[in-house]
Point group: C2
Chain length 327, copies 2
């Protein structure tokens, strides 16, 4: 056991479907001084789990971090089949069509769920989980080892839409939509979980100036991210009316490590709609009775982030490019 | 046929589950110069349909409007049984325990759905429908006469929660919750329907000064309303932190007759969750893509009110008490 002390970097396992904004989240975690990225698991979502691992390995190699193990996770959701991803958003290769040399090394032989369980023992009582894709791997890990939550400090998950519109259906967000059953198992596992929904991620953006700052960096990973954003900005143009993008995944990473703090994050009952009805994939967050200020529901283990202390954009770019971080 | 001309008052059929805020809506419509209330149908919700008719008749008699027919509508929702109402909100008799003498006259022999269909012929091409309770009667009328929408100018319905929390479940509002199947039939009937959800009704309130103005009125109906609000304010105290109440039903009435105007009311696809899942009773409004301003969806027949030009409170009290209306 490797109990965490306050001055040591936080060991973090990242579960991702890399993905352009997943790449931003990965780069952010690599650039954060108080973070020790101890493993990456992949899952099908923005792209398939194998391609997500290929992308993650390539990005880690660009960053010189060939020490971080990458494990391929679930290709299919718990029920049904992977739908093929969203090349119109993240490009055919998941990273906006940007060509990065494949890494020398291969993914681990173990699955993402196995890697997570192994790391939970190595870093028992210290490991934090950040998820920025569908929750299939976490649900599988919970099924394989129900004691997993006892060794985890916290889970931070990008997912859901509490009071904001969804992005796949009127009420469903993509990470939850892609595996509602896994999301329900993960959200009801009793561990302290912070949900970072579209309500806040859609309000955090990068724009052309940010993209240029990444392109102008001497850091090859930063430059690759700037290239990927070209594709991503195209997708968001009709939504925002200006070339820019939402910062879904990096916001979850930043909240997980304290780079951005939640200022409104009530602990409330949540339930994923796993029916076949029109609400399938919605994370139903019970936000009744919050009018007079935050009211945590006794026994609720999921906090839903509804407001943060600052915008992520400048902090994110500053961190990734190694520039002085703006306060 | 009695085609409406612009300078004649608008003929209106009110469908209600009277109800304290239903009583406010009824009084408001009676006090509006450009409104001809031509019929009232009742339905079980806040109280049962028979009691709602008794209350409506008594209130109409207080107002000297014994000419307005009142018909008892559906006691039970399309599926299942009436659950007994909410005496903790609206009192055991539906009007906050206030004792008003029963009217001399009785309800019509016809049902509310039959009354609505009859009025749709009498006022074909002119009749407007305002609903402030569950939509059972409208669904029944549509089933009895599918040509009904061709004779109706507009339907305005208090119901649903678009981006705001629900008030029965995390996502379901009471009028829809009480009969989701009827709501789905009504919202998909193709007539121009304006949905007035909790998003706006919770932001419109009466407070103690308003209640006192009603109690100080020389109008007996206004005074009775002031008495009812005593009970209603108690219920809302934990929500607002001050004795006051939401104006759910009167806001729908005011929007229907132009006393309050919607400033944001996109026409969007809507679907009621009629599943047995956790989202049952939710009106799923597709509000994606509205960030850059209102975008009406081609073919959508339901408008969802998300913002209005002014608060209803002072206008409502002024109208009911006969005081000069504030601009």
């Amino acid at each position: 056991m490797n109990r965490h002390t306050d001055d040591a970097p936080h060991p973090i396992y990242l579960d991702c479907d890399t993905g352009i904004d997943d790449s931003l989240a990965l780069a952010y975690l690599l650039s954060s001084a108080d973070v020790d990225l101890v493993g990456v698991g992949t899952v099908s979502g923005n792209t398939d789990a194998a391609q997500a691992a290929r992308n993650s390995l390539a990005l880690l190699e660009l960053a010189g971090r060939t020490d971080v193990p990458v494990a391929i996770g679930a290709h299919d959701p718990l029920n049904g089949r992977y739908d093929g991803g969203v090349p119109e958003i993240h490009g055919v290769n998941g990273i906006g069509g940007v060509q990065i040399a494949d890494a020398e090394r291969r993914p681990e032989r173990e699955s993402a769920a196995e890697l997570l369980i192994r790391l939970s023992h190595t870093h028992a009582g210290a490991l934090r989980i950040v998820t920025v894709g569908p929750l299939t791997n976490l649900a599988l890990a919970l099924a394989m080892d129900p004691t997993l939550p006892t060794r985890i400090v916290a889970v931070t998950s990008m997912g859901g839409a509490a009071l904001a519109p969804g992005n796949v259906t009127a009420v469903a967000e993509a990470n939850i939509w892609n595996d509602p059953e896994a999301a329900q198992l993960t959200l009801s596992a009793g561990w302290p979980l912070t949900l970072v929904p579209l309500d806040v991620t859609m309000e955090n953006r990068l724009d052309e100036a940010d993209r240029q700052a990444l392109l102008d960096s001497r850091d090859p990973l930063a430059r690759a991210l700037g290239q990927m954003l070209d594709h991503y900005f195209d997708f968001y143009l009709p939504e925002y009316g200006v070339r820019s993008c939402a910062l879904h995944d990096p916001l979850a990473a930043a909240i997980a490590v304290g780079g951005v703090r939640a200022t409104r994050n009530p602990a409330v009952p949540v339930e994923v709609d796993t029916s076949a009805g029109p609400g399938r994939g919605q994370v139903i967050c019970d936000l009744r009775g919050q009018r007079l200020g935050q009211r945590d529901s006794p026994g609720a283990t999921v906090r839903v982030v509804l407001a943060t202390d600052r915008s992520l954009g400048a902090h994110l770019v500053g961190s990734i490019t190694g520039a002085t971080q703006l306060a």
